[in-house]
């Protein structure tokens, strides 16, 4: 951990035991199935709880959520019960959120300027720089109030250096108040043992691709590459984990028979199934055109799997030396990079970097910019 953090945590206020207060808008945790932002929110809350030096409370729609209910949801890994309780009991027993405390939004704000001290997390600005890959309503949702949100923030947390760079390119006035908040991976403790007790998935040699199927994920490069002579004869399959998203009408229908034999679409799977599929893969393929962070890449590294990744946005900073990179618009480069990562000696070399790289992303590192902010 950085020297800055050590110095910050020894401030007199902390030493006296006066915990700084913080309200976190945990709206994303009210989702039933947690992927993406809800998982980010869970990890952030758990990182702050583990640190223990912040007096946390929770809210949604400026309504205080009972801490016990939120903590129960964290344990269960679903927001179904939390949402049910909120909907059933808000009138009788919930209170307005305490807006005098600093307020942290793990994603974009629904309303700005409620608390005198606000912070929010910007995951990426793809709705600004590549809106054609999003539905119009999603672009409007993210972009209509972004400038106002940023202006009202005392702290703007960016999911990566890539997001920080992109955001401050378009909003240079916020540069001084941006900090990076890196996410981490936390597989449940039992997964490794459960997987150990099960047979290896009977899929043959395969690489894994994780993410909602949508245009930004750039799966078309994989399809084009599969028709190249050098790849046509390979026995490597590609297991694609993720639900079908938006703007991909016709994509799956257009697959040829040959492509279908090499591609296995799982749809949405449980965390454990995802864990097993990554753990038994040769490596991960991440051809996305743009990512704010790219948590599946870190998940692969944490399980000792190198990543074949597009040379774009956050990938080089997250994957480091544990990956092979390619131009996401070049099928030829993709095919060459695929050949490189498949070579046994290179795969071994890359694998040595995986867990070292993953170990850099920890709960303490995720919590640190919030702690620095609260004691400033």
């Amino acid at each position: 951990m950085s020297k800055t953090k050590r110095r910050t945590l020894k401030t007199p206020a902390i030493a006296r035991g006066a915990k700084p207060r913080l309200t976190v808008d945990v709206g994303p945790l009210l989702e039933t199935f947690w992927t993406g932002i809800p998982v980010f929110t869970r990890r952030l809350v758990q990182a702050l709880l583990a640190d223990g030096r912040v007096d946390l409370s929770y809210c949604f729609n400026l309504t205080e959520l009972p801490a016990a209910k939120v903590h129960a949801a964290l344990t269960m890994g679903t927001g179904a019960f939390l949402r049910n309780h909120y909907e059933a009991h808000a009138y009788a027993s919930y209170r307005p959120a305490d807006t005098s405390a600093p307020l942290l939004y793990p994603s974009n704000k629904k309303v700005a300027g409620v608390s005198p001290r606000e912070a929010s997390v910007v995951h990426d600005i793809s709705t600004l720089v590549m809106p054609e890959n999003h539905e119009t309503a999603n672009v409007d949702h993210h972009m209509d109030s972004l400038a106002q949100e940023l202006a009202s923030d005392e702290l703007v947390l960016c999911a990566s250096e890539a997001t920080q760079a992109a955001l401050t390119t378009y909003f240079p006035s916020v540069a001084a108040k941006t900090r990076i908040m890196y996410q981490y991976v936390d597989w449940p403790e039992g997964f490794a043992l459960m997987d150990h007790n099960l047979p290896r998935p009977e899929l043959g040699r395969y690489a894994v691709v994780v993410g909602t199927i949508e245009p930004r994920k750039n799966l078309s490069i994989l399809l084009h590459a599969l028709s190249l002579p050098e790849l046509r004869e390979s026995d490597l399959k590609f297991v694609i984990i993720g639900k079908v998203g938006w703007l991909v009408e016709g994509f799956l229908e257009a697959l040829t028979l040959a492509q279908r034999e090499r591609l296995i679409f799982t749809g949405f799977v449980s965390e454990f199934v995802k864990y097993r599929l990554i753990a038994h893969a040769e490596f991960m393929v991440f051809p996305s055109l743009y990512e704010g962070f790219g948590i599946p890449a870190l998940e692969a590294l944490s399980l000792g799997k190198p990543v074949l990744a597009a040379r774009t946005s956050s990938f080089p900073e997250v994957i480091g030396k544990a990956g092979v990179y390619f131009d996401p618009l070049s099928v030829t480069e993709f095919a060459a990079a695929l050949a490189e990562i498949e070579a046994p000696a290179r795969l071994v070399e890359l694998t040595t970097h995986t867990r070292v790289q993953a170990a850099q992303f920890t709960p303490a590192r995720m919590a640190s910019p919030v702690l620095e902010w609260l004691v400033a």
């Binding site: 600004l128 390119t169 378009y170 900073e317």
Partner: protein, 365 residues
């Protein structure tokens, strides 16, 4: 010289969604091999010709937004080398900035109402974007309001050669009281007029209507007034260019619908009969299409004047530009148009339609 130190050009990804380039960096010919709208194609050709002429290096970038920082940006910088300028070829939906370079804007879809609206929306959503633009090519757009208003320096890049071959066909101007669809269907049934009909007139006024203008009540009222005026001067021809849509594909019925709807809604009363000396052109008139007559050109808002060479404009004895009565024409735009046309344009002031006309035509729809 503009861009003589080389130029990196960000392409609008929305238009290239079906493209299959071999990499994020392309040369002009690779871009031109893709399926492009006519506006984007013209802009790419213009940039290619200009940068070639000044001896600079030209690189097109698809998805420049992926080069945010670190290794990805270093990869790009290594390939761009000494290129100092970056230009965002914008469809209005996205304007790209490239860190570490002088950023410029070329909004190539100024004739399209939805593109103009998208650019305005973008400027509101990202108010710090425009102040980072060193210049704007072929436009004079002001961003922001009041003291915060910022107008990137306008610069002119104009086609120099023969811009295009003749693509226009000619249609009757007609509509009736049975609705736009019926009017357009009858027009379709009548088919094309012979091109030599244009040669019958000693004086021709040409108004290439843009999508932006077709959506403007004041402009429609102005056109309707010009139509009513030629009713009493049968020796004069009024030639209306039908506005093209934003997409790569457009059809004559769609263009006619766009033109007639605006006139019906905002123009007031017009005859429900075929007007012999009002003709619709379905594409921009090529130099060869221009009749040998005394020619007047009326340029509406959003007209992509840069696509035509100065020699084209020299064929007209009078060129005027429409401007709303309440708005002054920026001197920078006037200077740019004067250079482009080779003569100072006249100003046609547009009055807003009376309330009844604005409310909805003469009861047709």
């Amino acid at each position: 010289m503009l861009f003589d130190k080389g130029l990196a050009v960000s392409l609008p990804a929305r238009e290239l969604a079906e493209a299959t380039p071999e990499g994020a960096l392309l040369d002009a010919e690779a871009v031109l091999r893709q399926r492009l709208s006519s506006g984007l194609r013209a802009a790419v050709q213009l940039l290619r010709d200009h940068v070639e002429a000044v001896g600079g290096r030209l690189v097109f970038i698809l998805r420049s937004e992926i080069f945010t920082h670190g290794e990805a940006l270093a990869w790009l910088n290594a390939r761009l080398g000494e290129v100092e300028d970056h230009l965002s070829l914008s469809d209005g939906v996205v304007v790209h900035l490239l860190p570490g370079r002088r950023n410029h804007l070329f909004f190539y879809r100024s004739s399209q109402a939805e593109a103009v609206a998208a650019l305005r929306r973008l400027a509101m959503r990202a108010p710090e974007l425009a102040p980072q633009l060193v210049s704007q090519v072929n436009s004079c757009l002001g961003f922001g309001e009041g003291k915060a208003k910022y107008t990137p320096r306008p610069v002119l890049l104009q086609a120099t050669g023969q811009a295009f071959a003749g693509m226009a066909s000619f249609r009757e101007f007609y509509f009736n009281d049975c609705g736009i669809e019926d009017s357009v269907a009858r027009n379709e049934l009548a088919g094309d007029l012979p091109a030599d009909k244009l040669a019958l007139y000693g004086e021709v006024t040409y108004i290439p209507v843009t999508g932006v203008a077709a959506a403007d009540p004041a402009f429609n009222l102005y056109v309707a007034q010009r139509i009513r005026a030629v009713l009493r001067t049968p020796e004069r021809l009024l030639l209306l260019g039908a506005p093209l849509a934003a997409g790569k594909e457009d059809t004559v019925p769609r263009m006619l619908t766009r033109l007639l709807r605006g006139l019906l809604e905002h123009g007031g009363v017009l005859p429900r009969a075929v007007l012999g000396n009002v003709i619709i052109a379905t594409a921009l008139l090529a130099p060869a299409d221009l009749p040998d007559a005394k020619l007047e050109l009326v340029i509406p808002e959003g007209f992509e004047f840069w696509r035509l060479p100065r020699a084209y404009y020299s064929r007209f004895s009078r060129i005027s530009v429409t401007v709303p009565r309440h708005r002054a024409m920026p001197p920078e735009l006037q200077a740019m148009l004067t250079t482009a046309f080779g003569a100072r344009p006249q100003i046609e002031r547009l009055d807003p339609p009376p309330r009844s006309a604005r409310a909805g035509s003469d009861g047709d729809e």
